[in-house]
């Protein structure tokens, strides 16, 4: 329902998060010294790192599951996307800053965010192009209860999941970068 008859609202909502991530990037990126160096900010304690990094894999699977099963169970693009972003954040929280930056390069995040947002719009236009209306379903409906059912809804879910995950990770990244810079400057 979020993706079908109130699909336009979901499009707006998705772009809202997109705009917020872009806005935060706009505000914080330019004011920051890009040459941050590679601060050594890692978690002590082998036990935490082991548990945390193990949990990352599980969280990613959970996130993907939630995104894919959107049409059938509570969940969907937004919730799944947040879980995926949390998985990436776990790398920082339970691991080290360097590892975190390695899995979340800014260029990739920007690409993912734009692709997710644009993807949603393109699927919607596909409905228009196929002679129906914007956001109308153009794929076969399949059997209810299976993964490949509900027409375009899984595609929209996937696009949203991608965009939300990227946007949230971007937000988190920006704030972490600020934290690192503050530490570097001794503001703690």
């Amino acid at each position: 329902m979020t993706f079908d008859y109130r699909g336009l609202d979901t499009l707006g909502e998705e772009f809202l998060l997109f705009a917020a991530a872009v806005g935060v990037a706009l505000l914080l990126r330019e004011a920051r010294d890009e040459e941050l160096g590679r601060p050594e900010d890692a978690v002590d304690g082998e036990a935490i790192r082991a548990t945390g990094l193990g949990a990352v894999g599980l969280t990613v699977v959970l996130g993907l599951y939630v995104v894919a099963h959107g049409p059938m169970t509570p969940g969907g693009g937004f919730q799944g996307g947040v879980v995926l972003a949390a998985a990436v954040a776990l790398v920082y929280v339970a691991g080290s800053y360097r590892a975190f930056r390695r899995v979340s390069p800014t260029a990739l995040l920007d690409l993912a965010k734009g692709a997710g947002a644009g993807g949603f719009v393109l699927v919607a236009i596909a409905g228009l192009a196929a002679g129906g209306s914007f956001l109308e379903n153009v794929l076969p409906l399949g059997t209810p209860g299976t993964l490949a059912s509900a027409g375009t809804i899984p595609l929209l879910n996937a696009a949203t999941g991608l965009e939300v995950a990227a946007a949230f990770t971007l937000l988190f990244t920006e704030f972490v970068e600020e934290l690192q810079q503050a530490r570097l400057e001794g503001r703690g």
Partner: protein, 608 residues
Amino acid sequence: MHVLVPLAVAVPLLAAAAIAAANQRMRPGVDDGVAIAAAAATAALCMLLVLRTGNRPVDVFFGGWRPRGGVALGIAFSVEPLSASLAALAAVLTAAALVFAWRSFADAGSLFHVLMLVFLAGMVAFALAGDLFTMFVFFELMGVAAFALTAYRSDSPGPLQGALNFAVTNSIAAFLILTGIGLLYGRTGALNLAQVGEALAHRRSDGLVVVAFCLLVVGFLVKAGVVPFHFWLSDAYAVAPIPVCVLLSGAMSDLGIHGIARVYWDVFSGPLAPHAEAVRLTLVVLGVASALVGAAMSFLEAGLKRMLAFVTISNAGVFLAGTALLTPRAFAGTSISVVAQGCLRGAIFLVLGTVVHRLERGDELTLHGRARPYVVTGAVFGLAVLGLAGLPPFGPFLGSALVTDAARRLGDGWLPPLVAAAVALSSASLLRAGGRVFLGLGTRDDPLLTRAQEEASAEEPETPVSGRPPLALTPAGALVAVGLALGVVPAVATHARVAAARFENRPAYAAEVLHGRKPAPAPRLEGYRPPAAGWAYGATSTAGALALAALGLYRPRLPLGLRRVAGRALGPPVAVLRTVHSGVVGDYVTWLAFGAAALGGIFVLTLR
């Protein structure tokens, strides 16, 4: 036609997503080009919609969910000339602003363009939406993009303060709107405007309907910047970069008034019909108060952007008063004024941007005489301001003539003089500024005026100085031409009146949206000739503006005795006004709460 409507929203969004995805990997100038092309394309689409929906409004249901049995589950966009013209205005202003910003804002990657395009998409979707929740979502989308853009050039505390006040007050406004929507959904089980209106129409209005109306109206009034919800506006416009101000001033405030009109006519006109007089009186008084306060504050200001912010507030008050008269003639006049003045104010901001960019100061007194070499720029500015002042026979004049006509027919003869006074005063401040800056007239200093904040941070350029001055004159000139021409083209008034009559006809709208019934063919109206009173008021407000501007320019040279008397009479109110605009966000929220409570109280007492 059904294809074009969603494209008007999809095109800017797709362009924004594409630019964001390729961020920092594009050659400089490509992002400008894509953004301007997208904005121009949207403008063309919207203008096409204006022209083609005159006879037959278009209702688009997304996802193919057409209504069945009078129940609309899907989201609808109701496109008719008045809302499409607002969308077109937003798109044209965005294109103009982006041309101005060409290469001036290259240092943040292309994020600026992304946000401008998202802002545009939000405005277009809000203007065209026919569903309560969709209006809310895109209201917030507009807001989020606007907050970020306002804080854009954040190298001094100034922009942050303005953006903060903007964000907090507009977010609270959004919650209030959402609460109102929730209440309506609870009562009627529907979110589609027509369906909610149908469901409410056949019952008396009761507490819940009144509360929902109040919440929705307050939320939109905050966006429109009507007193006492306007404080954030002056702070935000004063600090936002010029391209953003063009959009905020030219289109965003007007969308707030449009929201009120839509919601009133499509949802509440049924149950509130017996109390229309009360609604009219309350909102008209609020509008007039806003117009006068805004005008007064603009006259007391030397900072050019802040002055324009107050002029916008004053104009928004006039629009509210016109819309609140609740007749097709008045609404048609207001709609014409909105578009014409939006274009003119946008042009003025662009001109200001050029001046400030070249001279690196944004204060009327500091710039005294320094823009004398810029003759063409000054001429464009002068034309735009005279148009705003209601010079016959141009766009704003036609709009106010229609409103004056409507007011007099309703017996509200007290309205036009007050409106004319407000218009005269607000235009006078701009004329005074123009006189000082472009012609070197007037005294070099005036202690009465509030100076622009930049004096504190001396060498702060207003826009990042790039090698190439921004291309402002062509878009500004084009906007002025459109704004003035709207009054001269005869078809405009007729079409506006027909569209306004349709807009205000709720049962026909509901039948058309829910049951697909074709609307009755448009009645043939003969060309509109403004009555003598309209001409009189137009001439008076222009003359008044010129006179007050002269007064403002030479005020310190008036005889001391005269100034003392005026000071004693006007001093206390001016001091109160100044203190109230404190800049502290807590104060603004308090005013919001107080205003909401007061308005709610009035509505509850008068609308049962």
